[in-house]
Symmetry: C2
Subunit: 405 residues, 2 copies
């Protein structure tokens, strides 16, 4: 019997308990032994829930119990999770977590600490919910130098954009629907402003490049400025707008950004709709691969957490090597990055057209049915710096979206 403790009895924590129960036999077979939840830590009480038998309010009960071999941290947030996880590792317990804030902030340190103590710190569920992406990056794509990772990493924003696209809803209406269905929180900022996707791409980039990518360094733009008119234009182009979290290596330079992008159907992430996530990886020998699945949700995320528990159980006394040094990777200034840009400028098409031609040279004009009083176009590939300077010279820019075709 392998004793574990679950820190946090929220959505994911209760999912972990449920998955361990549902697939108890097959999990035991794969872990080599029965997994038993000895404690659940939560400050709350859950009257009537059978979990009460295992509930403790003091983390020290768990940390001081030598029978507990694996800690499953599913509380979220940096503190007190960080303190608890460090203490657990120092007490000789392996840790698995779904906590993206913790991993983005302290991943390198906790990985090293686990390594020093011949333990494991695993975090498959911190990115992409149930989708296997951390382990493939770590253990499958080891023959490659990764040159790009681009993900649709936030289910809430992908749901909102899908709704806007499929039903012609505006941003606010689509957000309201997402909130009604429980896909978006009452305070949706972490999702719609791109912060959630930003932490996740920071984690993936750190793993891909083996060095610390600080999420604070990543240019992050959410989807709040995307309107139903933008969607109309994207449809006219046969394109979709997705919130992309991207990290690209170009020789020794790496840049990373989170921002809406227009893509066409030849992009592998084009069909990733609703609350699903997709992660596209380009390696210098493997070429393009893509991973797709439920990026959030109780059971898919719990599935990834439990898979980490199984892996930790299979690797008692043996550290699973993860290359993520605490040395900081200096990202390239995003202003130097080049894209094509979709732009909408207020004014009569004929007036603006000339001004745009003077500033941007040759552009691709874009028209959408029924839209008047503005001029929309796609620029040639120019730098972020350049586009900023140019749009400063235009009177009223209604929209700026990066174009990936």
């Amino acid at each position: 019997m392998i004793n574990i403790a679950v820190l946090g009895y929220g959505t994911i924590g209760s999912g972990v308990i449920e998955v361990l129960k549902t697939n108890c036999e097959s999990i035991a077979k794969r872990a080599g032994d029965q997994i038993d939840v000895k404690y659940v830590l939560d400050l709350r009480e859950f009257p009537g829930d059978p979990i009460m038998e295992k509930l403790v309010h003091d983390v020290n009960t768990i940390l001081e119990d030598p029978e507990v071999k694996i800690i499953c941290e599913v509380m979220g947030g940096v503190e007190p999770a960080f303190t608890f996880v460090k203490s657990a590792l120092l007490k000789g317990k392996s840790v698995v977590t779904s906590n993206k804030e913790l991993v983005a902030k302290h991943g390198a340190e906790l990985i090293n600490m686990a390594k020093e103590h011949n333990l494991n710190f695993l975090f498959e569920a911190s990115v992409g919910g149930g989708i296997p992406i951390i382990r493939p990056l770590n253990q499958s794509l080891t023959a490659d130098e990764i040159v790009e990772i681009t993900g649709i990493l936030n289910g809430t924003t992908n749901y909102i954009l899908s709704k806007m696209c499929d039903e012609g809803l505006g941003f606010e209406a689509a957000l309201a629907e997402a909130q009604k269905l429980g896909y978006a929180e009452r305070n949706p900022a972490a999702d719609v402003e791109g912060h959630d996707a930003c932490r996740k791409i920071a984690i993936l980039s750190s793993l891909a490049f083996g060095m610390q990518v600080d999420y604070e360094d990543i240019y992050t733009e959410g989807i709040t400025k995307i309107t139903d008119i933008d969607i109309l234009y994207s449809k006219a182009l046969g394109a979709k707008i997705k919130l992309f979290a991207t990290s690209i290596r170009d020789n020794d330079r790496v840049y990373a950004m989170v921002a809406p992008a227009m893509i066409k159907s030849n992009h592998p992430l084009f069909s990733v709709n609703d609350v699903f996530n997709g992660i596209f990886v380009r390696g210098n020998v493997i070429g393009d691969v893509m991973f797709y699945g439920s990026g959030a949700g109780k059971l898919p995320t719990a599935s990834a957490v439990v898979a980490d528990i199984v892996d930790a159980a299979k690797h008692f006394g043996k550290n699973i090597w993860t290359i993520w040094s605490s040395k900081k990777l200096e990202l390239t200034d995003v202003n130097q990055v080049k894209h094509r840009f979709f732009l909408r400028v207020k004014g009569s098409a004929q007036d603006v057209k000339d001004q745009v031609a003077k500033l941007f040279g040759e552009v691709e004009e874009v028209k959408a049915e029924g839209i008047q009083g503005e001029y929309a176009f796609i620029s040639e590939s120019i730098s972020e710096q350049d586009v900023k300077e140019k749009i400063n010279k235009l009177a009223d820019v209604l929209s700026l979206i990066r174009v990936r075709f």
Copy 2:
């Protein structure tokens, strides 16, 4: 330094040498040491190729050299690969292979042999080329009971079907083009008759269900009977025809089959076109996940082989657990499996329609522009046995394709 030997200097073998050279530094970092190819086994000579320095014609030179720790078998075919791999394991060398025939036939035995000797037998490249699927099934989806695996596992047939769909080509013309581009062999039977996909789904099913699935037991139908007229109808339906290799668990029954399937855009494999492969997996807790990438090709496949070499190097003295017992899994008789079927029957629509209605009850009529002298429809969900009996009563059935919507 870790000494390895490569058995077979064909496309994949030379790709392995190239990948090890190209990414030499990052691979050494991930493997924990420099990987050095000490020998390459091939019966042929390669005058002028630097490989000549390492070329040997006698496998015993390799087997008897205690410095060689990992054997990379990329010859293909069951024999002599099987004999060589067994001997290598008995001599204490771990083995990685891209050989689907070998793995489908002797996987269980070789996995057990590796386990007994505390070695590893790894075969990521045997299915889906570069796409990580074996390791995710083995190590990531361990919290789940797999209920379905469906793959587009053969790049050649997917290329042919994509060409037929995009350019309206007939089967023979599309095959000829695939042969011209080197995607199809001069004798294309293994691909177009579905045998290649059959071996691959046998491997994936054995891993998913932990027991031996014999490929000889899997109902296998290729794409040679698919015509440009079928494609016209599929387009009229907004559907595509793909060669699906499927294995589904329904309680304690498992059935597996390789056959063309009609799918619509809501299926995650709909956008897997050209020579790409995609593998869809449904778990009882994770829900649906999908893996996508280059299913063949020199470098993508070599990338997967080298990733296995890295994994073997990281696991000297420690067997990576793979659950694939030699106990045979008895598949459900495919005749009992139910689908909807797309059928085309020769004759004037009005005549056939009544006959069809009598036999099949309510059906969905399908029309394609410009096609006359036949009646096409999609049946309700009925068993394979049923559909066979019913079509025996029809004069001239032009086409029968399973429908997955």
